[in-house]
């Protein structure tokens, strides 16, 4: 009797499971590296998710997922629980995403800022943040009085090094005496460490603070110390109204909407997307009027030129720290070189940590 009951229970559960699967509606999952309230990187991805949700598509998200073993577990769980499209929104999710993708060929995966597409169901996408860094460099070069730019860097990966180089090149162009000081904090999000780093840079004479980390701590430190700063990933203006000159804004919403619709309608194909100012994936927050209208006009013109292709962030001649030529005069760096960038350009102090 007991066994019979158990057997019917199990089969009932199976039926239930199948019926859930059969009726399964289209679902999109998101994996975030920070909390949705970081007002930086993750916040912007979450805004993108909200845009997808607004279409009436069901979405789920998991926030503050560490890059590592936990990430694979979370991605796998999303795939198992009937999500049809999963966005993994941090560089460190690259290997876990590809690993899970192999086991779930019917689920589509979109990995942000990575370069591995080992299976046909994995796409990658990123934004040309370095175009924004070029604008920042131009402003920094013009605004600095101490000729020292402080840069808080996260991890020594091409994306971060590209940003440092793009900024330095643009700053050098308007101010040849510029020095870029870099502090590596080895985290994307640790306000305590980020603010200590910002303070250290300011104490060493930097009057411009730039960050490739996600919290608002550095701009708050800059505001308190009375130096200029730039917001990262989203408009951080309200955290440092006097200090922030502008912010680089990542706008993922149009891409997320497009890809979600494609996946739902069955037209999703593997691709590698790298959009910038032109497509609007990189946008600039309003410029601080403290810069003066002349400089704002200059920057706006440069922004237009970068978007139209008239200007390029990496136009030769570009030299590495030892003076070897990287990009010849008149040429521009190709995407392959940009994607794998792992050396500093001339004018950056220090070595890239290994």
């Amino acid at each position: 009797m007991y066994k019979l009951f158990l057997r019917s229970l199990i089969s009932a559960l199976f039926l239930l499971g199948f019926s859930i699967n059969a009726n399964a509606e289209f679902k999109v999952g998101f994996v975030y590296v920070g909390p949705t309230g970081d007002h930086g990187w993750t916040y912007q991805h979450h805004e993108g998710r909200n845009a997808v949700e607004a279409l009436g598509i069901k979405t789920t998200y998991v926030e503050s997922v560490p890059e590592g073993a936990d990430a694979e577990r979370v991605i796998r769980q999303l795939a198992q629980s009937g999500h049809d499209l999963i966005f993994t929104t941090s560089f460190g999710y690259m290997d876990p995403t590809n690993k899970v993708a192999k086991d779930f060929p019917n689920v589509k995966f979109e990995h942000a800022t990575g370069y591995k597409r080992e299976h046909s169901n994995v796409s990658t996408y990123s934004a040309r943040f370095y175009e924004g860094r070029t604008l920042l460099g131009h402003m920094a070069g013009k605004m600095t009085k101490t000729n020292t730019i402080g840069y808080i860097a996260s991890f020594p990966i091409p994306e971060v090094i590209r940003g440092i180089n793009a900024m330095t090149l643009a700053a050098q162009k308007v101010n040849p005496d510029i020095k870029t000081k870099i502090v590596w904090v080895f985290t994307w999000y640790d306000p305590g460490k980020e603010s200590e780093a910002a303070q250290a840079l300011i104490d060493q004479g930097a009057d411009i603070i730039m960050q490739h980390t996600d919290s608002t701590a550095p701009v708050q430190v800059a505001e308190k110390a009375g130096v200029w700063s730039f917001g990262q990933a989203s408009d951080m203006q309200r955290f440092a109204p006097k200090s922030i000159l502008t912010s680089i804004i990542d706008d993922w919403a149009p891409y997320y909407v497009e890809r979600s619709i494609a996946a739902r309608d069955g037209t999703w194909k593997q691709q590698d997307t790298w959009h910038g100012l032109k497509e609007g994936m990189v946008a600039m927050a309003p410029y601080n009027s403290a810069m003066g209208s002349d400089l704002i006009k200059e920057v706006e013109q440069l922004q237009k030129d970068l978007a139209s292709g008239k200007a390029h962030s990496f136009t030769g001649p570009i030299y590495d720290q030892k003076g070897n030529i990287l990009v010849a005069e008149g040429a521009v760096a190709d995407d392959g070189m940009l994607a794998g960038m792992n050396v500093y350009v001339k004018g950056v102090e220090g070595d890239i940590p290994q």
Partner: protein
């Protein structure tokens, strides 16, 4: 690195500011441990203090309430530890670890609605002469009242333990609870008080982080400082003055590391963050070679459960 005097002053000021949470938490834990109780929940109590302080600041818009509230919440959370270890006689180590895990989870839950809210400027104690006096200015001025309190606390603690009757009672309880009990001392009551005091200080240490050091709330914002504070108590061989010295060394490592990077010197970051623990182990090895030195300050009954037969 420019080696002018004023810059060194700025550096010392920054190191002092970063060592405050370590001094507060370690001084509190030191009293707890001197009464014979090992509370490994420092990190948990700190993070609860951090979120309570920040939440109260946002809700009441009053920094005084925020600071008092953070101490109270640290105290309440340590009361849980007290109830378990003193009244229900559970293992100190296991309970303390559980308290840390509980604190981190609980704070994340409470903190959900407080992420991304900018903090409030904390008033400075004196007229800010930071800029006007070279070298000494950045060392003595431009700090919050909590920093001055923290730097006085180890001396007060030292006096309290060595010169007052209550201090003697605490030490007696920590060294031999049985003898103390036979003398008519209520061991459980003394230990409860020390646990609560430790909790309040850890709460204050957390509030320093969320209200002054980085005025905002972020999940897990104590970032392991509670564990360093625990190591610090051992590093200081349970002596309050050495806690102060150790906190400055441990705080200094973090700040100097960033400055060395900014001038282009490279030392593996991972090695530097491990340094406090490595130094603690070295100190432990050194003191264990000289048993007289250990006996001087180490509470002999540390971590042992005391049970009075009725």
């Amino acid at each position: 690195m420019s080696f002018d005097l004023n810059f060194i002053g700025i550096l010392i000021g920054a190191i002092m500011a970063s060592s405050v949470p370590l001094i507060l938490a370690a001084s509190g834990e030191l009293i707890t441990e001197r009464s014979g109780v090992l509370n490994l929940g420092v990190e948990g109590m700190m993070i609860i203090g951090a979120i309570s302080g920040f939440a109260l600041m946002v809700v009441t818009d009053n920094l005084f309430f925020a600071v008092i509230g953070s101490m109270l919440s640290g105290l309440i959370i340590s009361l849980i530890f007290g109830l378990l270890t003193q009244s229900l006689l559970t293992n100190h180590v296991a309970t303390g670890l559980a308290l840390t895990i509980f604190g981190i989870g609980m704070s994340a839950m409470i903190g959900k609605n407080f992420v991304g809210i900018p903090g409030k400027e904390f008033p400075l104690l004196f007229i800010n002469l930071k800029e006007s006096i070279p070298f000494l200015g950045p060392i003595f001025f431009g700090h919050s009242i909590i920093l001055y309190f923290a730097f006085g606390l180890p001396f007060l603690t030292n006096y309290f333990l060595k010169k007052t009757k209550t201090g003697l009672i605490i030490r007696a309880v920590g060294d031999s609870p049985t003898s103390a009990s036979n003398q008519g001392i209520n061991v459980t009551l003394v230990r409860y008080s020390c646990i609560l005091y430790g909790g309040a200080m850890c709460g204050l240490a957390g509030a320093y982080l969320s209200l002054i050091y980085t005025p905002q709330w972020i999940e897990n914002m104590t970032g392991g400082r509670g564990w360093i504070a625990l190591a610090l108590v051992v590093f200081a061989t349970w002596s309050p003055i050495k806690v102060l010295i150790g906190a400055l060394i441990f705080g200094g490592i973090t700040i100097l590391q960033l400055h060395m990077q900014a001038v282009g010197l490279r030392i593996p970051v991972q090695l530097l963050s491990a340094l406090p623990y490595i130094m603690t182990i070295i100190v432990l090895v050194v003191i264990s070679r000289d048993s007289r030195k250990i006996k001087l300050n180490t509470p002999t009954s540390l971590g042992q459960i005391f049970y009075k037969e009725k």
